[in-house]
């Protein structure tokens, strides 16, 4: 019995969402009295991997090969399945993402393991193995029991707030080799386009978002200025991405990206229920809208009735004055 955390690397470092997954694994390992092993696939410096110890990793398995440079869902899943078998893992943990979800899904089939995503708290072990997960896009929760020997959990952002250990607990990392089905490499990533230098929305703690109230793509500067001053990531509503005012990956809502930042600032967004579904896991919501009757105010913690083009520069100035 042990825990295995599937971590993702970005530029050779463990992603913040994966740090949360390692921390979750460490807390669960304490409850179960077992080890919290970590699997990292791709290029990474051993110093960076050793930092997994700060979040409670027992040991790091590192699968590094030129073939794994581009994320490959089938290959990564084969490696995860092999690592789970070799370490005798009974719980596999990952942070919800566009890579981890399809990878763990395939591993669930390979191991015939019960898989539950959007987990928001540590499991209840008093009667079997029961986790709380978010359902209906954040509108409700379901207590879900997993009956298989091997369990796979996808952790939602902010399920637990990781506290990095201060004693710089460095862990060893050992290289891990797995036989990957050659068919996996018949599928190829031909190009990756990624916005540089910004924190991706699912990982962002601060988000500034614009809706149709911004009146057009040429009027986005006040949002960009505030986001820049805060170090926040920018987002938008569905109409805005449908109109091509902003790129699709910025669309938050029921059919877009679901986010869980500490702070969400909505500018000129009325707050349709489909939009709220994508942002209702935010800790604090600020709404700026000219219409005092905008439904979004009912879901907000702070509200300003006013013109975004008047209010946003004031906020930016106040942030810069800090």
């Amino acid at each position: 019995m042990s825990i295995l955390v599937f971590v993702e690397l970005a530029d050779g470092e463990i992603k913040k969402s994966s740090q949360e997954a390692i921390y979750y694994g460490a807390q669960l390992a304490k409850m179960l009295g077992t080890e919290n092993n970590v699997l990292a696939i791709g290029e990474a410096g051993s110093d960076n991997l050793a930092l997994a110890g700060n979040f409670g990793a027992t040991k790091v398995l590192h699968a590094s090969d030129d073939k794994y440079k581009a994320a490959n869902i089938m290959a990564y899943s084969d490696i995860l399945t092999a690592a789970a078998k070799q370490t005798g893992a009974t719980v596999i943990i990952s942070a919800k993402s566009s890579l981890a979800d399809p990878v763990t899904a395939r591993t669930a089939a390979a191991l015939k393991a019960g898989i539950v995503g959007n987990v928001t708290a540590l499991p209840d072990l008093s009667n079997g193995f029961t986790v709380t997960r978010s359902i209906f896009t954040g509108k409700a929760f379901a207590q879900t029991s997993i009956s298989t020997d091997i369990k796979i959990l996808g952790i939602k952002k902010n399920a637990l707030s990781p506290v990095a250990s201060t004693d710089k607990a460095v862990v060893e990392s050992e290289s891990f080799h797995a036989d990957v089905n050659a068919k996996a490499f018949e599928s190829k990533v031909t190009e990756t386009v990624k916005a540089k230098g910004i924190i991706p929305l699912p990982e962002a703690d601060l988000v500034v978002s614009g809706g149709r109230g911004m009146k057009g793509p040429d009027h986005w500067q006040p949002i960009l200025d505030l986001a820049d001053a805060l170090g926040a990531t920018t987002a938008c509503s569905k109409p805005v991405s449908d109109l091509d005012w902003r790129p699709h990956h910025e669309h938050v809502g029921q059919t877009g990206v679901k986010i869980a930042p500490n702070l969400y600032i909505a500018c000129g967004i009325s707050g349709a229920i489909q939009h709220l579904a994508g942002v209702n896991s935010s800790k604090v919501i600020v709404v700026i809208n000219t219409d005092p009757e905008a439904p979004f105010f009912k879901a907000a913690d702070y509200g300003i009735v006013g013109d975004v083009f008047d209010v946003l520069p004031k906020l930016t100035a106040a942030v810069k004055a800090l």
């Binding site: 566009s98 890579l99 979800d101 015939k112 996996a184 702070l263 300003i304």
Partner: protein, 244 residues
């Protein structure tokens, strides 16, 4: 080309969610059910591909007789025939197993569905099906073009996208803007009534079960700040909300 499109039947996205029997049963009363919004994108693209290069689109649903209006709608949109596996879709593994069973017999080039259902949001069925069938799976796919035996796709990743190429057969979890949602026309609605809908029995087990539901805590009152004094919000976010 033979395409299998898997659809879910879910409450309309504007639905107010509630539970009964001491929060152990999801309350369907008064709710409007629709084709899963992401599944609807997959269906629309499948019908477009059929219109471009021929072939068939079969729609598959794992559900009780209550889901037949959504299946008929999918037929009205342009699917040729339908299969309903007569069972409650109790968990991801169970649903995936039903899809894999049908797919093994049908020899499909593409198995398409939404990236996730909007009720339980798991987003893993396509991956489980892919592994069960031993073929590649990709999600969330936002662009799909087929050239002979080769699929060219764009997959959304955090903060961007990646372009991919793979050979058929494939399992795909889809999302916008892969296609525009299609609205059935009168002719489609008429012909849908006579298109074949085969009901088959399920096999296999669920690996997870839900014991209880709960609602998020109610949100407190919204604190209003005068627009003239907007800058004071930043101070409140630091000292009161402690998020800056």
């Amino acid at each position: 080309m033979k395409i299998l499109v898997c659809i879910s039947s879910v409450p309309d996205t504007t639905s107010k969610i509630s539970f009964t029997d001491s929060e152990t049963v999801f309350n369907k009363a008064g709710l409007q059910f629709i084709i899963g919004p992401y599944d609807d994108y997959a269906l629309a693209r499948a019908v477009e591909l059929k219109e471009q290069s021929g072939g068939t689109v079969t729609v598959l649903n794992v559900g009780t007789v209550e889901t037949e209006p959504q299946i008929r709608k999918a037929l009205a949109i342009g699917a040729d025939d339908a299969i309903r596996v007569d069972a409650e879709p109790t968990d991801s593994y169970f649903v995936a197993e039903q899809i894999a069973n049908i797919a093994k017999e049908g020899n499909y080039d593409l198995i398409m569905m939404g990236r996730e259902t909007t009720d339980y949001n798991s987003g893993v069925v396509h991956g489980i099906v892919g592994e069960m069938l031993g073929i590649p799976s990709f999600s969330p796919v936002m662009e799909l073009n087929i050239d002979g035996n080769q699929a060219k796709m764009t997959r959304e990743i955090e903060g961007g996208k990646e372009k991919l190429e793979a050979s058929l057969p494939l399992v795909l979890g889809c999302q916008e803007p892969i296609a525009e949602w299609k609205i059935p026309n009168m002719r489609g609605i008429m012909t849908a009534r006579t298109k074949p809908l085969n009901v088959v029995a399920p096999s296999g087990d669920s690996l997870t079960s839900i014991s209880a539901y709960s609602m998020p805590p109610a949100k407190g009152a919204c604190k209003m700040i005068p627009a003239e004094d907007a800058g004071s919000l930043i101070n409140l976010l630091r000292t009161e909300a402690k998020v800056l």
